[in-house]
């Protein structure tokens, strides 16, 4: 592949993910020591026992590394958390973007591994995305480092390569989700959606009536499984089919936000779908050309470089 790209979609995705990371961190800040502190809801000894392996950096390993400073566990938690917030802010606005990307990735890994029991889908999808930003030159536009102008030298092969592999990886995650569901009797039998909506932690609306209309649950379960299982295939088909599938996927994630109140998970999935598949670089450039009148910013330069 010799195709070069500005990485505009990846740059917009960087900003969106950065903002999500910051808001998510702020929303768990009041419970920070409950999750990561020495005497938290999962004491550090138990978290370490449940960790994936001693080779992964965690709050405990950072504390051991900094043993000369005699820091208390909670002080290490505070230090890591503030460093993480700063890294996320730099990553979002694109200041020292390369360093900020690596730091955000590593600090996110530390938070992930320090209390694995508390993590869920959103953390894994965020980590999946952050990994691809550690490669040089990926999604570095619309930043303090590069400004708002597009230059010919901003185009690089790395952006095209990473976008392509990120898309494949992301599509595979849907396939895996679909495969997991279809192997379960509750999903095949149409019971799973009803069950998940009836669980106390997700019961914000009364869906008990669904038990009388089994076909609704059955349809929703199979609709979900078909979308997820064939997601990679749909993305390979023509644009209309891909967009139809993407509209269904986004609808599904909106449903997760509204009915299950998994705000960050739903938002991350929608943002990833939008910037990896829906919005292509040439669409963004077209949009900018139409909307931007200011000659100093993206629009005019985009017009100049429009392909």
């Amino acid at each position: 592949m010799k195709e070069k790209s500005y990485g505009l979609a990846l740059s917009l995705l960087r900003i969106a993910l950065g903002l999500i990371l910051i808001f998510q961190a702020i929303s768990i800040a009041p419970s920070l020591y409950d999750f990561y502190g020495e005497f938290g809801i999962m004491q550090s000894a138990i978290s370490d026992y449940l960790a994936t392996g001693s080779f992964v950096p965690s709050m405990s390993s950072v504390q051991n590394t900094l043993s000369w400073f005699h820091l208390h566990r909670d002080e290490v938690v505070t230090l890591i958390f503030y460093l993480y917030l700063i890294a996320c802010a730099f990553f979002t606005i694109g200041l020292y973007t390369s360093l900020a990307s690596v730091m955000t990735f590593l600090l996110h890994l530390i938070l992930l591994s320090s209390n694995r029991a508390s993590t869920y889908g959103v953390d894994h999808y965020l980590h999946f995305a952050l990994f691809y930003y550690i490669f040089p030159g990926v999604g570095r536009l619309l930043s303090f480092d590069e400004g708002l102008k597009l230059r010919e030298d901003h185009k690089n092969v790395m952006n095209s390569l990473v976008l392509k592999w990120m898309k494949i990886h992301f599509a595979l995650t849907y396939f895996a989700a679909g495969l997991g569901k279809i192997s379960g009797e509750q999903w095949r039998g149409g019971e799973a959606i009803w069950r998940s909506l009836m669980l106390p932690e997700y019961q914000f609306y009364d869906f008990s009536f669904l038990s009388q209309y089994h076909f609704v649950g059955l349809f929703l379960c199979w609709w979900t499984m078909v979308i997820e299982l064939f997601y990679p295939l749909f993305m390979l088909m023509n644009r209309k089919v891909a967009l139809l599938c993407l509209s269904q996927v986004i609808l599904m994630h909106l449903g997760i936000i509204v009915f299950m109140k998994l705000y960050y998970f739903g938002l991350v999935m929608i943002v990833l779908n939008l910037f990896l598949f829906v919005l292509r670089e040439k669409d963004i450039l077209h949009f900018m050309e139409k909307k931007t009148k200011d000659p100093g910013v993206l629009g005019l330069i985009a017009r100049k470089h429009l392909v």
């Binding site: 999750f35 938290g40 392996g53 980590h127 390569l161 895996a176 989700a177 569901k181 509750q186």
Partner: protein, 167 residues
Amino acid sequence: MKKYKIKLLSLFFTLHLLLVFFSMMMPYSDKLSNIWDSKYFTPIRVYAVYTGTHIQFDFFAPSINSSLKVSYLVEYFNGETELIEELSEKSRESQIRYENIMSNFFEIEEDESLRKAMTASWAAKVFSKRPDAKKVKVKIELFEIPQMKWSDYYESSFERKVTAGIP
């Protein structure tokens, strides 16, 4: 970028995605799980954990687990008792994480010492917030579907040994 660098990068990403696929297929093959657990696979396992390629992304599958609810029955030194259902106010995001921690209780069903340690950890949190508490009973209930009712699942009691000046 030079051609050989692009080729090397493409090879790297291909191997990376092969590992992603390998991890995703692990729940369906004992052979793959055995390979994953073997000592020869350790460097790849390290890479996978760092990069997140070990995640199977099979959320809410193959089945939907029942819910667990934790409550604390506190007995104070003065003889009074209190039932606590929420330790503190939480944002929705923190609430989800609390529930995830609780749901780990299913996964460690065969490890009684770990279950005891986890409940001790929760009880310690209550003791730390209530210095006049003498005894904490951690009560875990299971939400049964389709009966739609809570039933007793696990119980464990802890008593404060050091009274910190309280007679």
